[in-house]
């Protein structure tokens, strides 16, 4: 590896392999490459790994592996060049109308942008899928226009509805389950991206691209019903 990652303990049963602190495609590629190399190495005692924007969290059984021994092993990890499936580009319906746009007015006021401008910026961007995590089907995106950079809330807000489109800290995400959050809710997608009967359970993949296609409230309702009945509400860009 050109730059050595930082190894940071997260208790006695987990270790963070940190490649940087930014949202950056090249950095994220390193995380995904390390994740694949780790899976290849099949080190005894590793339970699972969680790729994020800029780091990989490795969960392990501390009866089998000690933190120092794991770090020593990871320093010797072979980073084999590997063919990666080409990224796909998904078009995802999004409704920015009430009642789905719960925090649009708040964001508009905080950023001093008209609500229409906030929506146009959010729907006009092409995003890259950097990570899942946080909750089932949550999809974390890079590519949020810098005009929409807003700090997280100092304290979490009440749960957002299923499919909420959230922004905070220069990041964007699709929240596939109702959860309390420190982010701001701009709208919602009728798509249901997580299905435990499917393997893998998330419909889209790390590294894929995403754009949002605005739809009105009636279309949202129709598509949500179809999604609940098993029809995919998302499609690949031609």
């Amino acid at each position: 590896m050109p730059t050595a990652p930082r190894f940071l303990p997260a208790g006695e049963s987990a270790l963070v392999v940190e490649f940087g602190a930014a949202i950056d495609a090249a950095l994220n590629d390193k995380v995904h490459a390390f994740d694949r190399a780790l899976a290849q190495a099949a080190i005894p005692g590793i339970i699972e790994a969680v790729p994020t924007y800029r780091s990989l969290m490795i969960h392990f059984d501390p009866r089998v592996l000690a933190t120092d021994a794991l770090i020593a092993r990871l320093r010797r990890l072979e980073m084999a060049p590997e063919a990666v499936a080409p990224a796909r580009h998904w078009l995802i319906p999004a409704c920015y109308e009430p009642p789905h746009a719960e925090d649009l007015a708040e964001v508009s006021a905080a950023l001093n942008l008209a609500p229409e401008r906030v929506v146009a910026l959010h729907a006009g961007a092409t995003y890259r899928i950097y990570m899942f995590g946080f909750a089932p089907g949550y999809v974390f995106l890079g590519g949020l226009p810098p005009e929409l950079a807003i700090s997280r809330r100092p304290k979490p807000r009440p749960p957002v509805p299923q499919g909420a489109l959230l922004i905070a800290g220069g990041q964007a995400l699709i929240a596939n389950r109702p959860m309390p959050t420190g982010w701001y809710n701009l709208g919602a997608t009728p798509a249901l991206l997580f299905d435990p009967r499917r393997m893998p359970p998330v419909a889209v993949d790390l590294g894929d691209r995403i754009s949002f296609v605005p739809v009105d409230g009636a279309t949202f309702a129709t598509l949500r019903q179809a999604a609940a009945d098993g029809a995919p509400a998302i499609r690949q860009k031609a």
Binding site: V16, S55, A66, T67, R177, V202
Partner: protein
């Protein structure tokens, strides 16, 4: 089929096993017991696998009846609850052989939040993504992904062999020193706090103010960040001490999200996480810094002690009959719990 029928359930009763592993990258938390020490003890008292599915009972208690053709062996412990067999107080931790039609009830005692009820062979509820653990926020596992409520039937293994003798469970690890500091391994974002803030965290007393299966909120002196509180989201492990903009610690528990974006000062050692889980709102705690290797050895010692102590079940010579102890009043607490939706 043999089952336990829930007659009444207060808030927070769920089915848990060792946890759901391998899906954190998709946002699926492991869940599993809040107090793994008590959970494991209840299973081992029956000769079960240590991570067999059992009932985690929250502060609202639980009441059930055995509906089976043959006696069923059960064990319970954790959290200082008062357990009643047919209205008679048994104690806080025991292994019992219950005949068909017998009623068992747990009511909260003077301390603790969670108690565990294991059954010989483990509960046979459906497996979802490799586990029976309930992750209620995502509607996953357990019985239809939700909290237990009156009328639920918990399926048992068809035949579990002869019933074990009634016994008290007497285990020192179920009564830890309540004043001992909770051990904490620093990192991964300890560099978001200056040394003064870290020293304050490890010297000041904190108080649990609220909690659920996802996180415990603590109050104490403000723990100030040196570089703000927005980090680019990264992984989260059980016991993470997350400090958000309000400068108050939030300790992430069994249902924690697999990733998060607030700085994490450290992680409560796995050996002490059950002790924290049992602290009711209002209770105080302190933290002590240890290295990852010290925390690992502490966990290993505790796990070994639980796994190798064979005599923590002491034969119950006579029924404990306590005059003047009221029989459990089911209506008061079952009514409250049954309103909780799945």
């Amino acid at each position: 089929m043999a089952h336990l029928r829930i007659l009444g359930a207060g808030p927070g009763a769920t089915i848990q096993d060792g946890g759901r592993f391998g899906y954190r990258r998709y946002g699926v938390t492991p869940a599993g017991p809040m107090d793994w020490v008590a959970f494991r003890t209840a299973n081992l008292a029956l000769g079960n696998a240590a991570d067999a599915a059992a009932v985690e009972i929250g502060p609202g208690g639980l009441e059930l009846i055995v509906e089976a053709d043959a006696p069923v062996s059960l064990a319970f412990c954790g959290g200082g609850f008062a357990w009643f067999r047919g209205g008679q107080l048994v104690g806080a931790a025991a292994r019992l052989c219950l005949a068909p039609g017998e009623i068992l009830a747990a009511r909260p005692g003077v301390a603790g939040i969670f108690t565990y009820l294991a059954v010989a062979g483990g509960l046979r509820t459906p497996i979802e993504l490799g586990s029976r653990a309930t992750y209620a926020r995502a509607g996953m596992g357990g019985l239809n992904g939700g909290l237990l409520r009156a009328g639920d039937d918990l399926p048992l293994e068809a035949s579990t062999g002869p019933c074990a003798d009634d016994a008290m469970i007497v285990a020192p690890w179920l009564r830890p020193d309540p004043d001992a500091a909770l051990r904490v391994v620093l990192g991964p974002q300890d560099d978001y706090f200056d040394p003064g803030a870290r020293d304050l965290f490890f010297s000041a007393p904190f108080r649990v103010v609220a909690g659920d299966r996802m996180a415990y909120r603590l109050d104490g002196p403000p723990v100030a960040h040196s570089r703000g509180y927005n980090i680019v989201s990264d992984g989260v492990a059980l016991g993470a001490i997350q400090i958000a903009g309000d400068k108050k610690p939030l300790v992430l528990m069994a249902d924690h999200p697999p990733t998060g974006g607030y700085p994490k000062l450290g992680h409560v050692a796995r050996a002490d996480i059950g002790r924290l889980a049992q602290l009711r709102p209002g209770r105080a705690c302190r933290f002590a810094e240890v290295g990852a290797e010290t925390a690992r050895r502490a966990l290993q010692r505790l796990e070994d002690e639980i796994a190798t102590t064979t005599n923590f079940c002491r034969p119950l010579r006579r029924q404990v009959a306590l005059a003047g102890v009221a029989t459990p009043d089911r209506t008061a607490w079952s009514a409250a719990g049954n309103r909780h939706p799945r």
